[in-house]
């Protein structure tokens, strides 16, 4: 039996349909999603004008720095991956169907994958796409990517042990446009499509070489370097070396071979990237703009000044360029009326993810406290998510009640994802603590009065007289984090919990909040807040295998629950028909078990020029300027 993943079958109403129906539906939808249906057209309102230059504000101090899609963690930034590389080198599948979280098969090189052999075999057919050197994007190009990643796992930011490409036993080109992957187990086809196939970017065979002196190889040539591990390592070393020559990206014989809608015309040393339409682009969404320019900024404040100054300050080629698509810094959100009066369209961008505080379960001092479910419930009752969004997030955030979040709208979240299981309530927190043996001292230090493991006692490992004192580390410079953490500190005092706030740099948070053995010095951290949400990027399926599973890379707070582990494994291995049920079971348990403390997930307010259309925030923060166009009159 085979099953297919289609955009329509992602929606809950289609859950549980037979796999065969899913396959048929996918074919029909694939046929409907021809360029003429929507692609290449003008999706928004207004009289479209072809041409023009759109200016896009890069995030502060993160210019494009790395062009090769096989990117290491050093250069793994939204600017590099979502705003730069994907414009030039199209991933196999395009994730995010405008604001929806589904695959946009219309913009994808691959047709919906077909699963067989009980989920162990994946067959992918490719649409006709061409490289700018005249070659066709082929199954061999996908194989080239797989070979490179297999041989260079340690250099790849997206590598997860056991995940792609470890779970690919072999790949085989069944024809120029058909590829078959043999998997090492039977996987949930939704999980595999959204978490594993999302890792693939076909690469041109012109890159399959180890020196510029050698001629670009032909796709039909045998024994190309990537076919052996040593050769693939040499090819990677060569390409990574070429990627260090940032100033030469636009003219490089390597990097100028593209299959995306854009070609890089120039990249300045400070990060101004200018793109022009790729005349060889054979996909469905050809650019309407004549140029697309990404502008670097030293700060959000500088970007906002340019936004507020508007057109009057200058023109192209000078300072004070108009920003076609920009963003409002969080502390400037109150200036929305002024921006509207300038004519900007204001668009809320809530990426697909959730936010949380990390309690360290292995910390020798406070770990035993965090291991008590009643305590985690009490602590969660002290987090006023709705109040924080209103007071500190400028209304631009969504509460987190589940690891499969309800917002942005997606086909995965069930009804309980919108219900707060532990609503803000100081009395509820106080009652839970008191019922478990704590002597509550409001505005003082509550202490454990009844130590022991019984149901009405503090819990194993907690000493008599132990106080509820924690140090909470979070990054400085984020007004919403500052406000909400101060609020939490104040509210916690009401039940005798003392939270010492420790503001550090974001890099220090990342370097400190790590999984650790209880006995190690590195396990001294107690509570952490990254100041940024967990986004389902580059793995787009909201399973918990990378964050809540025992030993997972993202499981930095040492959470471990065998029952949750089983549920997580089920989300990755369930057949298509049972995929949603497995996801529901996982989400319903995790939202109640609180492996982390849920807090609001922040969003971004995007500004769009009054005469620009076609911009829709992508659920995973990819940009598609080829869909943008100006209107006149």
């Amino acid at each position: 039996m085979t099953s297919a993943i289609s955009a329509a079958s992602r929606f809950r109403g289609h859950r549980g349909r037979t796999a065969a129906l899913g396959a048929a539906l996918a074919l029909i939808l694939g046929a409907c999603a021809s360029p003429g249906a929507n692609g290449g057209g003008f999706p928004g309102a207004g009289r479209p004008v072809l041409g023009g230059t759109a200016y896009f504000a890069e995030q502060p101090l993160t210019p494009p720095t790395y062009i090769f899609p096989l990117v290491s963690g050093q250069y793994f930034t939204v600017t590099n991956t979502s705003d730069f590389q994907t414009l030039l080198y199209q991933p196999l599948y395009w994730y995010g169907d405008r604001a929806d979280t589904s695959v946009d098969y219309r913009l994808s090189i691959g047709n919906p994958p077909v699963y067989g052999d009980g989920g162990r075999l994946v067959t992918i057919t490719l649409k006709h796409y061409a490289w700018s050197d005249g070659e066709t994007v082929s199954a061999r190009d996908v194989g080239f990517w797989i070979n490179l990643v297999k041989a260079n796992r340690a250099a790849w930011a997206n590598y997860v042990p056991g995940g792609f490409p470890d779970n690919i036993v072999s790949w085989r080109a069944l024809g120029p446009a058909t590829l078959q992957l043999r998997l090492n187990a039977s996987y949930n086809p939704f999980w595999f499509t959204y978490n594993e196939l999302s890792q693939i970017t076909p690469l041109p065979i012109a890159w399959d070489r180890t020196s510029l002196a050698a001629p670009a190889p032909s796709p039909t040539a045998a024994n190309l370097p990537d076919t052996t591990a040593a050769g693939a390592r040499a090819v990677y070393a060569f390409l990574n070396g070429q990627a260090t020559k940032v100033a030469g990206y636009a003219t490089s014989p390597i990097w100028s071979v593209v299959d995306g809608p854009w070609k890089l015309a120039s990249l300045t040393s400070d990060g101004t990237a200018t793109f022009v339409p790729n005349p060889s682009y054979s996909g469905p969404q050809k650019p309407h703009l004549a140029r697309f320019v990404e502008l670097p900024f030293t700060s959000a404040a500088a970007e906002f000044s340019v936004l507020r100054a508007g057109l009057a300050s200058g023109g192209p080629g000078t300072s004070g360029l108009q920003i076609s698509v920009g963003y409002v810094p969080s502390n400037d959100l109150p200036q929305q009326p002024a921006l509207r009066s300038q004519g900007y369209q204001l668009v809320r961008d809530i990426p697909f993810g959730f936010d949380y505080l990390e309690p360290n379960f292995n910390n020798p001092k406070v770990g035993p406290v965090f291991r008590q479910l009643y305590f985690r419930q009490a602590f969660q009752h002290l987090i006023d998510q709705t109040g924080w969004i209103h007071a500190y997030y400028g209304g631009l955030g969504v509460p987190t009640y589940s690891p499969v979040p309800a917002q942005p709208p997606n086909p995965y979240a069930n009804a309980s994802a919108s219900v707060d299981p532990y609503p803000f309530s100081v009395p509820a927190a106080r009652a839970l603590l008191a019922a478990h043996g704590w002597a509550i001292v409001p505005n003082g230090h509550s202490t454990c009065a009844r130590p022991g493991p019984a149901a009405d006692q503090c819990g194993p490992g907690i000493r008599a007289g132990q106080a509820l004192d924690f140090t909470l580390m979070y990054p400085s410079g984020l007004p919403y984090a500052d406000g909400s953490m101060t609020d939490l500190q104040s509210v916690a005092k009401q039940v005798g919990i003392e939270i010492a706030l420790d503001q550090v740099t974001a890099a220090t948070v990342t370097a400190t909040i790590l999984s650790c053995a209880a006995s190690s010095a590195a396990c001294s951290w107690e509570l952490g807040n990254y100041g940024a949400a967990w986004l389902f990027q580059p793995d787009h399926y909201p399973s918990g295998d990378e964050i809540f599973q025992t030993g997972a890379q993202g499981n930095v707070n040492n959470y471990s629950d065998p029952a949750i582990d089983k549920l997580i494994i089920a989300t990755t291995r369930a057949p298509a028909a049972g995929a949603q049920a497995a996801l529901d079971a996982y989400a319903d348990q995790v939202r109640l078990q609180l492996p982390d403390f849920w807090q609001p997930s922040p969003g971004t307010l995007v500004t769009v020029s009054s005469n620009l259309r076609g911009f829709v925030p992508n659920a995973y923060d990819f940009i598609s300027p080829e869909e943008w166009y100006f209107t006149g009159g």
Binding site: Y75, F76, R153, P296, S305, G314, G320, L321
Partner: protein
């Protein structure tokens, strides 16, 4: 003089070496995993190991420091962990921006502050002095960030007279080709420096005006213009010269706020960002550079003393 210079240069080299050692040690005392800070929480153990191997982080600290010094001796300031470029190229690109912005502001500030300070001293406790003193206090007590935002709000956003950001050119020629874009950042830096320099100049000039040789010059009937130009100005400049000498490293570092607000990629902001992001090679490279410029600035100030004051003798 040459012996003095040789001794000072040797001392300077030791100072710079000490600064690099202290910075290097402090960087490595920061708790947590550097590799994780750079690669992020999702980095695999293999990726972390590869990063540590590639950057020699598994070796003893002293060995890492010696490798750094070896590279430094060859003129190699290192390679940024995050920016995919050498620190040399980063600095070479950004220093000209800083020289144009901060250098212009310093020069303008001196041109304004010196006569203003003398005028305030000559008119001590009169209206001119009160006005200059009030303005200097107001500007000096105002954080430059606030001043910059005020200028943008008034001149860019309210009346659209000037751009809110500096010219976005990659070369000095490009920067200078768009003088309107330079006005606000240069003005911000100039106003703060005028406040500082004019106060020093005023104090120094008041002291000089009370000197016997000034009284003698006046008693001899020398015109006021010549008294001020020949005697007061030259002798009062000594204290300002110290300040200017100390301001040399500020060319690289004091632009931080202006770079942040006016969208100019410069050394000050790059240094700050490197510190925040644990980009140690950039931090160390700029530390070395600033150390050298600081010592050089002091050296030049000392030489200037000798030129301004013949009594100063160096063995």
């Amino acid at each position: 003089m040459s012996g003095y210079l040789i001794r000072r240069v040797a001392q300077a080299a030791i100072v710079v070496l000490g600064v690099t050692a202290v910075t290097f040690i402090l960087e490595h005392l920061i708790p947590g995993s550097l590799a994780r800070a750079i690669l992020g929480t999702r980095a695999s153990a293999a990726e972390v190991a590869a990063f540590n191997r590639a950057n020699g982080l598994g070796h003893p600290l002293i060995e890492q420091y010696l490798v750094f010094l070896g590279r430094l001796a060859r003129g190699d300031l290192g390679y940024s962990y995050r920016l995919n470029q050498s620190v040399d190229s980063l600095v070479l690109r950004q220093v000209p921006n800083d020289i144009v912005l901060v250098g212009t502001a310093l020069a303008l500030a001196l041109v304004i502050a010196i006569p203003l300070g003398i005028a305030a001293a000559v008119n001590r406790n009169r209206a001119v002095d009160h006005a200059a003193t009030s303005a200097a206090f107001a500007l000096y007590s105002m954080p430059s960030y606030f001043l910059a935002i005020l200028l943008i709000a008034g001149l860019s956003i309210a009346v659209h007279a000037l751009p809110p950001e500096a010219p976005q050119a990659a070369s000095v020629g490009g920067l200078l080709a768009d003088p309107r874009g330079l006005v606000l950042p240069v003005l911000t830096l100039t106003l703060v420096n005028v406040a500082l320099f004019s106060r020093y100049m005023r104090s120094s000039a008041i002291a000089t005006l009370a000197e016997d040789y000034v009284r003698v010059a006046r008693a001899k009937g020398l015109p006021t213009r010549l008294v001020l130009g020949r005697h007061v100005l030259r002798n009062s400049l000594i204290s300002v010269t110290t300040l200017v000498g100390l301001s040399f490293p500020a060319v690289l570092t004091s632009g931080l706020v202006v770079e942040y607000v006016f969208n100019v990629p410069g050394v000050g902001l790059t240094y700050y960002t490197a510190a925040v992001n644990a980009d140690y090679p950039v931090e160390l490279g700029i530390t070395v550079l600033v150390g050298i410029v600081t010592v050089l600035g002091n050296l030049l100030a000392d030489v200037a003393y000798a030129v301004l004051d013949p009594r100063v003798r160096y063995g």
